[in-house]
Symmetry: C2
Subunit: 121 residues, 2 copies
DNA sequence: TGACAACATAGACGTATGTCGAAGCTTCAG
DNA sequence: CTGAAGCTTCGACATACGTCTATGTTGTCA
C-alpha cells in the first residue's frame, strides 16, 4: 500500500477537506490534497482519467484507453499513479484489467474548488 | 507572458473544458487543464492558494500568507507559478503586492470534476 | 539622498518525474 | 504444455521541479 493510500485511510471521514475558499488548509491537509491534484497535473494522466471517467459506468479496460501517444509501459505507469492517488481502482477480469473512477473522491475534489460566496457589496 | 498564459488567451471561451466524465479530453485540452491541476499539485502552493482564497475578498498581501515554512524567495516562486497557471492575479499597492484568486478559473476547475450522472440501473 | 522594508530574480544543487526498451507475470486458446 | 495477448515491473536516462542563498528592484519615509 502506498504512503498516500495510508494517509487516505487514516483520514477522519469522507469529506477530506473544506473548500479552498472556506479556510486555509493545514499542512497535513495540503499534503494529502496536493497529491490528488498532482495526479491530475500531467496531460497524459489527465487524458487517461478522462477516458476512464467518460466511459459507460466510469470504467474501462486498459486496452480501450491506451492510445494516448506514449508507450504501453508508460500508460501502465500513469495508471498506477492515479490508483495510488486514490482516483482510480483496478480489477482484473480474465485477460483484461479494468480501471474505474472513485466517484466519492471526484466529488470531494470538486467540493474543494467551490468558489467563495459573493461578498455583500 | 508565459506559454501557458498564451494558451489560455487563445482559448475559445470561458468554460475551458467539459466535465472529465462527459467526454475524453483532447490532447490540447489536457495540456491546458493539467497545467492548472499541476499548479495546485504542490503542498506549499496549495496552502498559499488556500490562504489567498480564504481571505476576505479572496485577496491577500504576500506578507499575510508568506508563513508556510519555506523561504521568502520560494514563496515568491510559487506565487509566480500560480499566476502563470491563471489561478491568481497580482497587483502592487504601494509597498505591498496583493494576490487575488480568479473566481472564473476556480469555477471552471470545479466543473471539470463534476461526477458522472448516475446510470439508470 | 540614504536607509530600510517588501518582493522579485538569478544561479546552483539535489531530487523527483516522465519516458523508453527489455524482461516478467497472468490468463486463456489450442 | 506451449504460445500468444494483455499488463506490470525493472533499470536507465534526460529533464523538470522545489529549495536555498545572494543579489536586484521598487516604493516609503526621514
Amino acid at each position: 500500500m502506498s504512503k498516500l493510500q495510508e494517509m487516505v485511510a487514516a483520514l477522519p471521514a469522507e469529506p477530506c477537506c473544506p473548500a479552498l475558499t472556506e479556510r486555509e488548509l493545514t499542512a497535513e491537509e495540503a499534503e494529502l490534497t496536493a497529491a490528488m491534484f498532482k495526479a491530475l497535473g500531467d496531460p497524459v494522466r489527465l487524458r487517461l482519467f478522462s477516458k476512464v471517467a467518460s466511459h459507460p459506468d466510469s470504467e474501462a479496460c486498459v486496452c480501450d484507453i491506451a492510445d494516448v501517444g506514449v508507450s504501453q509501459p508508460t500508460v501502465s505507469h500513469h495508471l498506477k499513479k492515479l490508483k495510488e492517488a486514490g482516483l482510480l481502482a483496478s480489477e482484473r477480469r480474465g485477460t483484461w484489467v479494468y480501471y474505474r473512477v472513485e466517484p466519492a473522491v471526484l466529488a470531494a475534489m470538486g467540493r474543494l474548488l467551490t468558489p467563495a460566496p459573493a461578498k455583500a457589496a
